[in-house]
Amino acid sequence: MTRPYAVRAPFAVRAPVTVAALTLLAGCSQGSAGTTGTPQDPPARTLTVLAAASLQRSFERIGSDFEGDHPGVTVRFGFGGSSGLVAQLADGAPADVLATANEPTMDTAVAEGLVAGEPTPFASNRLQIVVPKDNPAGIRSLGDLADPGAKVVLCAPAVPCGAASVAVEQAAGIDIRPVSEEQSVTDVLGKVRSGEADAGLVYVTDVAGAGDEVAGLDVAEAASARSTYPIATLTRADDAALAEEFVAAVTGAEGQSVLQAAGFAAP
């Protein structure tokens, strides 16, 4: 028996394909607790979490632990740029929990009336210089990034990691002339990883996640541009209690150890 859809709900195994498909469609439009399930099982519920792209690996881990602890619960994630996620929510995307990569973005969500209660800081991240493993331009310090011979890629100032990069530059009193200003950290990392660029500024968690192909160099000035990750439940959450439980899981000891393993620091 194969499962035709990547749905982790138990009903998908026995339900006829059409019902499964209809429920899947319904799930797309509601994005919240389903009602199917056999009587002896706890009711099937779905929790939708929108989170910054840099949280992907940690949150997927925390999510599967959460599902283990809460039988019948399915956690669905939407990962992306923080501002984009907030824009989606403002446009009516249904979700229960939001976690952003910096506080100003969360503030926007609060201002739009999307957030229920107070956001909780749960992790922090800082920038690191990322270079290809063989470091062809011989980058040793932040000052080397200002060398006109080095091809440096940064985030565009309009996105959070770009704003952080500008702050680091200012703290160090240097002027980096990037060959490209990318849309997201992932794009910066990709350009360095492929060897197109000699160096970039990305989050330490991105370097940790990229494996052997790249190396990270610590930057003392990065402390000044530490970004704090807040998490909050949303006003449109279908199951506020379950959303609170997820937030607790992230801020709790187990969640924190997963995040620290990925390179995040405490808030």
């Binding site: 740029g81 824009a87 565009a156 309009a158 490209s180 197109e196």
Partner: protein, 267 residues
């Protein structure tokens, strides 16, 4: 003048036809309604916006010329040859049409990137393509050429070889036939293909951001600027999108008028 549909069109067809038209029209109208027209001027005349528009027009023009330079011969070869090799060549040339542009960008990186197949050769020649306007032009040409080839090949096949045969028996060599018969007869198709290619160049995003990067004045074309503005200033993104719509409509209108006069003259 629009005449009512003739009786040969089944009436029920009008419903999906209208829905299809609305699907295109409503979003464009919605965009025009959303934009803050008082702010429109300042939004679209910022330095970043004018740089992006100017870069887009320049690169799209150069890329379209390259499409003509390589696409016309390709279309002629494809239209006038048969057999397995021609079929294979056709599939290959049309590949960018069905590929996601991001995949095109990745493929271009593997070829022209610093560590790509031709990277060393280009390095020896002193050519640096990555993060340059040249990379934008290559990306645009890559994705747009199939539109020209497809459109022209269709026109050439429709025109057939009847007039070319006559020209040959009148003593015209292959080059004369090509110049004085083949091309003039396929002109409407060539014009349509050129417009399509230019529009595709103007709208190119995925391959550019993957292959060329994003830097104001060098590689950040209008679509990249719009995407970036979406993060920081959504109103500016909408305003710039309208500019792009305007340019596209203008190009189509101009060439349509020109083509109508050509077609009227040719039949």
């Amino acid at each position: 003048m629009t005449r009512l549909p003739s009786l040969t069109i089944p009436r029920w067809l009008l419903v999906p036809a209208a829905l299809g038209a609305l699907l295109v029209a409503v979003p464009v109208v919605a965009m025009a309604l959303t934009v803050d027209w008082r702010e429109f001027g300042p939004l679209v005349t910022s330095e970043a916006s004018t740089d992006a528009l100017w870069l887009s027009l320049r690169t799209a023009s150069v890329s379209t010329l390259l499409c003509l330079l390589f696409g016309i011969p390709l279309a002629v070869v494809l239209a006038r040859t048969t057999g397995a090799a021609a079929t294979l060549l056709r599939s290959l040339v049309l590949l960018p049409l069905v590929l996601p542009p991001v995949v095109g960008g990745i493929a271009l990186l593997q070829a022209f990137g610093r560590r790509g197949l031709l990277g060393d050769t280009l390095d020896v020649l002193g050519l640096e393509i990555a993060f340059s306007t040249t990379a934008v032009v290559i990306a645009q040409t890559f994705v747009a050429m199939p539109f020209l080839v497809l459109s022209l090949e269709g026109a050439l096949r429709a025109a057939g070889t009847r007039f070319e045969d006559v020209a040959a028996t009148l003593g015209a060599g292959p080059t004369t036939v090509f110049r004085r018969v083949t091309l003039p007869l396929a002109l409407p198709g060539l014009v349509a293909g050129t417009v399509l290619a230019f529009a595709r160049c103007l709208g190119e995003f995925g391959a550019t951001i993957t292959f060329a990067g994003s830097l104001q004045g060098t590689t950040r074309t209008l679509p990249l600027e719009i995407y970036l503005q979406r993060e920081g200033d959504p109103q500016a993104a909408v305003a710039l999108s309208l500019v792009l719509v305007g340019v596209a409509v203008l190009v189509i209108a101009l060439t349509r008028a020109r083509r109508d006069s050509l077609v009227a003259g040719a039949t």
